[in-house]
Structures are given as structure tokens and as C-alpha cells.
């Protein structure tokens, strides 16, 4: 996936001279995960800039650059270090278009590694996308494969509004897939149906899509046909695709790595209850991270929902 992300940067920088990359270590080092590898050598130090080690600086300067004709793609080194930048995101990036009636705009992409599972140190493994989904005026996108990372990142850079782009660290190197460098974007604000099925709808995003697909394969052996939906754009959410699936299957299990309390799963469950209650044949279930602090890595796989937890939740739901 990491090569697909670097490739999307390269394509868009080649085809749009307004695109600039900023962040800590994005230049000669190519990013700590190598998401920007080779870009500074190719496009120069003006267009691929190492910033001082300050996240509010990165977000604040991105606002200034975007309102004055550039399209910054900013890297935050880990989601756990995003919080100093939130002031700029909540108070400016998300509101600039609205509060100036469209006079000034913020076409910014803020990319960040998301989630755990790679034995990283403390503060490097959290999934706090719900914080971002609560902010009006921004999009929150989380790809689940190299091809979707490529296509959705292109769409995010081309979008005239701010996009938070959450990259699941577990997928950076876990998954190999041929991706053509054709500059073709994938649609934002849409779910992707990764697997069709008739008995139960499994809704998930990011790294949990892999575990959910594995669970669906196991469930197939037990004669449960699961439809797997990758939400992809977490905000604004494409609830129509989820409702249509639930209308078909009558059952919904939501899987996410983030803590359950006020997680995006709660919003999905509420929307399905509001608009699809009479299609449901069983209670909605959530399989989520615990409402605890993400533990250090000796226990991280006890925190992240396992394939077995997903299988058990689906079987319980389908047992009626």
C-alpha cells in the first residue's frame, strides 16, 4: 500500500503544479514509512518540504498555503501526534470556505498513519477517527487496499475541500496488489462492497476490512453468506449503500478497531435504526476496540478485534 500512496503523490504532482507535499521527514528521508519516497529528488525542495517538528505549524501553514493558491498534502507522522493540529483543523481548515462564503478555500489533504498492529511504541497505534468525523466541513477517508489508497488519495488531492486521509499502518506492507499508475481516482463519499452475500451485512473500514474478509471466508464454510462493506469515506458517510445491503440481509454487524464508545459504529447503528429498523431481523452488533487505553504492543492484538470475535458476533446475530 505504501508504494501506491507514493505513486499517487507522484502522479498528481506531475500533473498539477499546485500540489506541494509538507511534513516532518517527508523530504530526503521520504517519510518515516516512505510514503513520499523519491518525491523531493523528483520535484525539488520547494514542492516537497520538510517542516519544523510541529504539527500545528504543519496544519496552520497548510491553511495559509491552500488559501493562497497551493494544494498542500501534509503528512502527520502518526495519528497520535495529530492533536496539536486539531485547533487549525477544527477552527480554520474545516470552516474557511463556509465563513468566507467561498472567498477563501482550503484544498488540503492531511495524511496520517492510523491504528495499531505493528509493534509500535506508545501513542503510535490509536484509532481516533471519530474525533475527526464529528467536525463539519471536512472529509475523513480511510482506504483498505493499495488500489483504493491510490484512487482515493488522488480523489482527496483533487477535492476542493479538506480531507483527512487515514492510512492503516497494518496494511502499509501487509498487502501486495498490482496497481496501475493511470491517474484514475476512485469516488469519495461512497462505500465499496468488497464481497457480496445474502445472510448478514458486515460494515467495516481500514485494516479491519482484512480481518472481516477473513471472517467472511470462515463463515462461508459454516453456510453463512456475509456481505462485506468497506465504508472508505467515514464522513460524510454513504449510509444508502449500507441500508440497501441491510434491506437484503436483514442483519448488521459493524466492525472497527477504534474504541466502541461514540465510535463511528454507533452512528451507523443509529442511522440504520432510524431508516432501516423494519428490515432488521436481529439486533445490530458492534465488534470494536475496548473503551480502554490502547495497550502497549504486548497486548495490542488482544485489543484489536480478532477474526474469531467477528465470527462469533456474526454467528450470534445469525442464530436469531
Amino acid at each position: 500500500m505504501i508504494e501506491a500512496i507514493a505513486m499517487a503523490h507522484g502522479w498528481e504532482m506531475q500533473h498539477d503544479r499546485h500540489v506541494v507535499v509538507i511534513g516532518q521527514d517527508v523530504g530526503v528521508n521520504g517519510g518515516v514509512f516512505r510514503a513520499t519516497a523519491g518525491l523531493q529528488q523528483r520535484f525539488g525542495k520547494d514542492r516537497v518540504q520538510d517542516t519544523p517538528l510541529a504539527e500545528a505549524t504543519i496544519a496552520g501553514m497548510a491553511v495559509g498555503m491552500a488559501t493562497h493558491g497551493l494544494k498542500p498534502v501534509a503528512e502527520i507522522q502518526f495519528m497520535g501526534f495529530l492533536y496539536p493540529a486539531l485547533d487549525q483543523i477544527v477552527n480554520h481548515m474545516s470552516r474557511m470556505r463556509n465563513r468566507t462564503r467561498g472567498r477563501l478555500q482550503c484544498p488540503v489533504v492531511v495524511r496520517m498513519p492510523h491504528g495499531g498492529g505493528i509493534r509500535a511504541p506508545e501513542h503510535h497505534s490509536e484509532s481516533t477517527e471519530s474525533l475527526l468525523c464529528h467536525i463539519p466541513g471536512i472529509r475523513v477517508v480511510c482506504p483498505s487496499s493499495p488500489a483504493r489508497a491510490y484512487g482515493l488519495l488522488l480523489a482527496a488531492i483533487r477535492d476542493p475541500d479538506p480531507v483527512m486521509f487515514l492510512e492503516p499502518v497494518r496494511l502499509y506492507r501487509a498487502m501486495r496488489q498490482e496497481v496501475g499508475d493511470d491517474g484514475r481516482a476512485l469516488p469519495l463519499d461512497r462505500c465499496f462492497i468488497l464481497r457480496e452475500g445474502g445472510d448478514v451485512t458486515l460494515v467495516t473500514w481500514g485494516a479491519m476490512t482484512l480481518d472481516t474478509l477473513r471472517a467472511a471466508a470462515l463463515l462461508e464454510e459454516r453456510r453463512i453468506s456475509a456481505e462485506v462493506i468497506d465504508v472508505a469515506t467515514l464522513s460524510p458517510i454513504d449510509i444508502e449503500t449500507i441500508l440497501a445491503s441491510v434491506a437484503k440481509t436483514g442483519k448488521l454487524v459493524i466492525v472497527h478497531e477504534a474504541a466502541r464508545n461514540m465510535g463511528l459504529g454507533a452512528e451507523i447503528a443509529a442511522l440504520v435504526a432510524e431508516h432501516g429498523l423494519y428490515d432488521l431481523e436481529a439486533p445490530i452488533r458492534r465488534v470494536a476496540g475496548f473503551d480502554t487505553i490502547m495497550p502497549l504492543f504486548k497486548l495490542e492484538h488482544d485489543y484489536i478485534p480478532s477474526v474469531q470475535r467477528i465470527v462469533d458476533a456474526v454467528e450470534l446475530t445469525c442464530a436469531g
Partner: protein, 360 residues
């Protein structure tokens, strides 16, 4: 022992409170039309400001941050900037904004609770008012970065207050600007008070200008009630920045003669004698005295100016009061470039329950 580093902060003043030149007059002092334009602008913003406070007191305007006493700082900066430069204001620099083309009607529209006031007809590229303290300094640095990347000889100018210099974003902006030699000027308007907290409680530093030192950029302190010094020193800094010489911090010493905003009562925390003393130093007096001594001004012209400013303010107020409230859809119109389908249902509900006339 060796000295690893040392610094000095210079203080610059051209006109003393009596309107006498205490330093060589800058070349622009020969431009009488410019001086009269600056004095007119200072007077206009003072008349406007008093009217705005009255509008709030009578329920016709929301909370309003008065700029009383800041006229020299604000007009001096405005006169030093070029139209293509970019201003990142805080929320009370109305003098600079009026000079740059923002209208009194737009100011009243925003402070009257309507985002359309931020949609300046001129200048389109300036930032809007910035309420979260110090965050605008990073926007100015970012805009300066855009100019630098494109090789444009333009400059950004960020205002900040004395209280704002305690915020992390301020230090980050100085650090960024210094480390990348950005064309940006930071003007600290030190009016003595951050709501109820005096400067001495913000920092142990002797000056706020010296905050520049740690960022490796020049800092200078000026008499912010002296429009000559402000115009001159800010002009020098902007020219240097446009030439590629990098950023600068200018601390303009002035005094907030008003409450913090119309929601504040400075009498709760500020000695009356201090305010009384500050009135003797206020900026319009010395500019008027200078013009009188130079033979460019008299009582009749002063009376005519006040009448003209009053009429201009009244016309702007009438235009503001005559403007219908925005339609309910305005909440949704500019949230994104195109409203996502997911929000159409909420817009339908908002329309149905719209309370204000002017809704669809």
C-alpha cells in the same frame, strides 16, 4: 567566559506625544496628501468605532471589539502595506482593513452575526477576522510560503496582541518564518491588557519584540501611538521581506482605551488613573498637532472632517441595517464546494423550520 549570543531591542519613535519630531522625518512626511489621508482614516475609524459600540448597546450589533486607541498602529500598518500583500488580522484591526478596502458595512455585517461580512469585495485575498488567538500567525506564514514557492514579491502581515504572544502558535509561526526566511511581518499590538490580564503577567520578558530573538529574526519596539513610526518601521520590514531578507517582529506599544469588547467591563480590573494617563498619549492628538504646526490643518477642517466621517458611518450603518438576514440555506451553501447528498435531508429540515424572514 565567552558570550554565546547577545541581543538588543531598539525602540523607535518619530513623533512625541506633543506632535514634535524627535527623529528625522521619513520621506513620506513630505507627502501632505498622504498625511491628510492617514489622519482622515484615523478619524473615520474612531467615529466608526464609537458608532459600532452604540449599535451594540442598542441591540443592533453583536459583541464588538472596540479599537479605540489603536488608530495609529492600524492606519500606519495599512499605509505601509501594498494592495497585493496579505493581511491576517486578529479581530480589532478595523483601521488597517478599511484602509485596504474592506467596507464598514462588511465589518458591521460580520459583527452583526452574518458570515457574508467576511466575503470582502476588496481585498479578496486577505484573511478574515481570526478569533482563536494566535492561530492566524501560521496562516500568514503559510501564505508567505506560497509566495516564496511561486517566486512572488509579496508579503504577508500577521497581527497579534500582547496576550497572543503567550500562545504556542505564535512561537511556531516565528520559528517557521525564521527557519524558512519567509516574507512575513508579525506586528504585535501591545495594548497592555489581554482582557483583564496585564502584560507583566504574560511574560517575564522586558519586551515582546525580543520574542523574535529565539526565532533568529529581528525584533523592534515602536511607539504604536505614533503613526509616523508605525508607517516607517512596518514599511521598512515589508520592503526587506519582499526583497527576500526574511521576516521581522514589530512590537507596537499602545493602549486599549476601551473595554476588551462590549461584553467586558474594564473598570473591574483596571485603575482609572492608568486609563486617564493613557488618554494623554492617544494617537489622534499628536497627529493633529503635527498637522496644525505644519500648517496643514485648522479647526474648520477638523469640523468638516468629523461631519464627513459621521455621514459616511451613518450611510454604512443604514446599508447594514437594511440588509436582510441570510437565508437558512446559507448554513449549507458553502460547507463544501458541493453539498454532499448526505446533508440534503438536514437542509430540508432546516428549511421547514426556518424562523427568520428571508428564509425560502
Amino acid at each position: 567566559m565567552k558570550t554565546a549570543a547577545e541581543f538588543k531591542i531598539h525602540y523607535r519613535q518619530i513623533l512625541d506625544p506633543a506632535g514634535n519630531a524627535v527623529a528625522p522625518l521619513p520621506p513620506f512626511a513630505q507627502d501632505t496628501a498622504l498625511l491628510l489621508r492617514m489622519y482622515r482614516a484615523m478619524t473615520l475609524v474612531r467615529v466608526f468605532d464609537a458608532k459600532a459600540v452604540n449599535l451594540q448597546r442598542t441591540g443592533l450589533l453583536g459583541t464588538y471589539p472596540s479599537c479605540l486607541g489603536h488608530e495609529a498602529a492600524h492606519i500606519g500598518v495599512g499605509a505601509a502595506m501594498l494592495p497585493e500583500d496579505v493581511l491576517a488580522p486578529v479581530y480589532r484591526e478595523f483601521g488597517t482593513q478599511l484602509w485596504r478596502g474592506v467596507t464598514m458595512t462588511e465589518i458591521l455585517t460580520y459583527w452583526g452575526g452574518d458570515e457574508r461580512g467576511n466575503d470582502f469585495a476588496v481585498p479578496r485575498h486577505d484573511f478574515a477576522w481570526c478569533v482563536p488567538i494566535a492561530t492566524q500567525t501560521l496562516h500568514a506564514a503559510g501564505a508567505a510560503m506560497a509566495f516564496k514557492v511561486r517566486g512572488e514579491a509579496r508579503c504577508a502581515l500577521a497581527y497579534i496582541g500582547d496576550g497572543g504572544t503567550s500562545e504556542g502558535a505564535f512561537y511556531e509561526a516565528l520559528n517557521l518564518a525564521g527557519s524558512r526566511t519567509l516574507p512575513v511581518v508579525f506586528v504585535i499590538v501591545n495594548n497592555g491588557w489581554a482582557i483583564s490580564v496585564p502584560v507583566a503577567a504574560q511574560t517575564a520578558a522586558q519586551t515582546l519584540a525580543q520574542k523574535a530573538v529565539a526565532a533568529g529574526i529581528p525584533g523592534v519596539q515602536i511607539d504604536g501611538n505614533d503613526v509616523f513610526a508605525v508607517r516607517q518601521v512596518v514599511g521598512e520590514a515589508l520592503e526587506a521581506a519582499r526583497r527576500g531578507a526574511g521576516p521581522c517582529v514589530i512590537e507596537a506599544l499602545t493602549y486599549r482605551l476601551s473595554d476588551h469588547t462590549t461584553a467586558d467591563d474594564a473598570g473591574r480590573y483596571r485603575p482609572a488613573q492608568e486609563v486617564k494617563d493613557a488618554w494623554a498619549l492617544e494617537p489622534l492628538i499628536r497627529m493633529r498637532k503635527f498637522l496644525l504646526h505644519a500648517g496643514h490643518w485648522d479647526a474648520a477642517r477638523e469640523a468638516a472632517l468629523l461631519e464627513e466621517c459621521g455621514a459616511a458611518v451613518d450611510a454604512a450603518v443604514a446599508e447594514y441595517l437594511g440588509r436582510p438576514a441570510p437565508a437558512t440555506d446559507a448554513m449549507f451553501d458553502h460547507l463544501f464546494a458541493a453539498l454532499p447528498a448526505q446533508l440534503h435531508e438536514q437542509r430540508r429540515i432546516a428549511r421547514k423550520y426556518a424562523s427568520k424572514p428571508g428564509g425560502p
